[in-house]
Symmetry: D2
Subunit: 281 residues, 4 copies
């Protein structure tokens, strides 16, 4: 069973699908170990891991290398965030070929104009014309070779300051164009935009959400709205940054590294995560 | 001023040089931000970040890609851990050319046999014959093109269960062969092996240590022994793993991501680390 | 002396600079061996070497990897063709940082809209608005760290079917924005467009040309027009394709590989090109 | 049908399998276009394309990148030359995982000691102890996940100056360890070593040969000996080098690029090879 088939199976199941973001093989292994269903190879985390802004300067090659590495070392499906598709229809078709070859279960492309900026940044968030994005989705669906590969269309309508009617129009057009899942992004402080959207969503295409700013919305609440996939896109890296910063600071100030064992995995735990002693990958 | 020159300057200064390990651009930026002098692009952290064992299966290309990325996004020198040199003299000369081209300030090669296993692992730790390793060091020094590039010879004598006399013989031979720094590795629970070694070390070549198992040894104590470089090689990643595991687990169990803001950097902090709003790199 | 300095030196010399295109380390070495001054890491050859169309689907990472490899194994400067700059000002600044770090002497960006198609292809060749491209050039010049790094602005005015006056307006604006060289591209069957342009060019900024379609124009003729750089961008690969196709076909049809020694370099010649027996790179 | 299945099908067919070496996507496409059955992603050609010696300094990552690219742009199986396996059992298992993931139909590993030198070079050609190489083959076969993936064991017994009895002992042991094909390498000026070997080979495991030095041996002759796979490993690149060198030289000396159309593919032919106008890959 391929990972794309496994993702299809999850989509046709009853449960909400819980996804967490990672930025390298190690964090992907932790996502799997803890019990999430799927790993999100997200643009914010991966660009941040490279130490670069999330503004379309990290290339498809660089994003894909990380997603492929995650797949190599885990046993659950990877969904890869592919920004705006890195260009037009031709670029989108090309990325589908590449990601599918790397055993990625699904890709997500968003309806902003290339080069884009991160959805939580200040600044203009320009939407791509609907017809153009529909054309890109069609290119994506035509390019996949296996039946099971998933294409997720992400609408940034709310991010661009537009209302649920625009989001709905976009989402319906994307579903009609063949998108397997619609990701409705929102940076509201509550789940109200999502709730509004879900109230009007009657297509048989599952909806994904990313509760970063509306973090208090529970899986149960989102499930009750009818959401199928919930993605915790950046909490892992944010926890890692907090912890590393504190650890580095403590060591530098105290002049030694002892007495912090409770804030660190042991070297043996790192070895275990690396798969030492197991049959080779 | 190149970063190799900066590292030379630190070596000729009075202070002990404090180094911390990183495994990608982001963690390297944190090492710099907190105030360490140098970043260690270490084999354990980088192989672990890939999700792979530290057993010579990660290639030079893969290690170098991470070290180069760290250099791209930071302003302090990078020292790259190059395992055993990935082969013989020819491989060592080749790696020096590659790392120097990528603006790495210095490389560290160790006197174990390729393929090696991590120094803290159970299992045989075989030393390369002294003459062979000396020949590899000569190849390294001959291959560098700038005067300032640093070659660090790491002896695993203590790791292999041998005593300070062997370590000393090795270190003297490596210094005589042109090594700019000697790294004396130890996995004792105290700094006693290091203390013993330093007592007998009279060469004008600086000594580096990695206080992972003897974590309670302070910078001051190590400085008093005459150590010049102290490397906290893996605490950053170990803290990150602990934090990510807890965060993922909490989210999955509670069904939401709120109420943990004090355990996470904010999205704005991540943006700041990515260099958003700054002039492009 | 860096390769960028060497390229500056060539630009301030009396001679016309002769450049030939390559697509990997080996062909770059042949360009150097034969006596060209500079190697062109061109978009057509490199995308073709990957087996992919020259339509902005090959990423900056993939193009850069080849240019960097060429630099590693040769002693003459590399000029890298960077298409449209892979996006906007931010992407351009980013690429300059990357290419300069890889010891590339200069980069060339063209005033078409991303994603672009090859200049010799049928189809719409849309020019970027002048002000936008000027802004990208300024971003490029601001991003370079060494004084000597070269930014070449390529105008596709003639390729887009416009006349010499448009080309001139563009070229002057690019020179005023800081471009170190202007590449005037033409797919006319003779050098007449170039001649016309040169007649009106009075800026102290050198002009580069690519005589693919006007192949009968000699270096002397182009020099007489005032051209400073002549780039044979694709003849190497075109010769290689012709030769490989014939060789493969002959072997398959005859059922053996002998009797064609005069159409092949010997294995010993390949070894020599690889640098066998020389001190490591 | 995967490419590994296709290769199995060829192996169980009646015909001799004709294979030609390539070093990038373009040359791989030519191998396919002309009608060969399989593409050889060979160490000599690929290291030479990088401009580097064939002495184990090019990494697995670098070799694999080229083989994967070949697979992306062609429709026939790729067999990848993996030198000595880049280390020991652990490295071999790792490479099988990586190459299989990249859709490579089969890998070939040889019984020399890492780091190795090219088989046609002067210098010591040391064989790995038989038991060690058998252990590496077992590691390879255990690591593959699909039934159809092919592991080719290459014996360098003749290259090391040993006789057919040694070659036979090695080959039998490798076949018993699970190798799917045995490649018997020879640098004799005639096919006599191959003929001798074949006379004594009675295992139901197919034999591959590389008639570089015994180029006059025909496919028919080799088939009559019982050989199943004939690999023209380097003639493509050798023809390309000869042609590029002549083309560059002619252009530089004549000062123009015209009058050589019969020695070059046209730009339109390059476009066609790149897949322009076809549906995206």
């Amino acid at each position: 069973m391929t990972k794309a088939s496994r993702l299809r199976e999850l989509l046709s199941g009853d449960r909400i699908i819980r996804v967490a973001g990672a930025h390298n093989g190690m964090s992907a292994k932790l996502v799997e170990e803890v019990g999430f269903d799927v790993i999100w190879a997200g643009g914010l985390e991966i660009s941040a891991a490279y130490g670069l802004p999330d503004t379309s300067i990290v290339t498809m090659t660089e994003f894909l290398a990380v997603a492929a590495q995650m797949d190599l070392v885990t046993n659950i499906p990877i969904i890869a965030d592919c920004d705006t598709g890195y260009g037009d229809e031709c670029n989108v078709a090309h990325l589908v070929r590449h990601y599918e070859r790397q055993h990625i279960a699904g890709v997500c492309i968003e309806d902003k104009v290339f080069p884009k900026i991160n959805s939580f940044m200040e600044g203009t968030q320009s939407l791509e014309p609907l017809a153009k994005f529909v054309s890109k989705l069609r290119a994506a669906k035509s390019a996949q070779r296996s039946r099971d590969f998933i294409v997720i269309a992400r609408t940034e309508a709310f991010i661009a300051g537009l209302d649920w009617e625009v989001a709905l129009t976009r989402a319906e057009a994307y579903a009609a164009a063949g998108a397997d899942v619609i990701l409705v992004h929102s940076k509201a402080r509550s789940a109200k935009e999502i709730a509004q959207f879900m109230e009007h969503w009657h297509y048989p295409v599952p909806i994904a959400v990313v509760p970063t700013t509306y973090a208090s919305a529970t899986v149960q609440e989102l499930h009750d709205y009818g959401v199928k996939i919930v993605i915790y896109a950046n909490q892992g890296m944010r926890a890692a940054v907090k912890a590393m910063r504190a650890m580095f600071s403590d060591i530098l100030q105290s002049g030694h590294a002892s007495g912090r064992e409770d804030q660190m995995a042991s070297v043996q735990e790192i070895f275990a995560l690396q798969g030492l002693g197991q049959p080779p990958l």
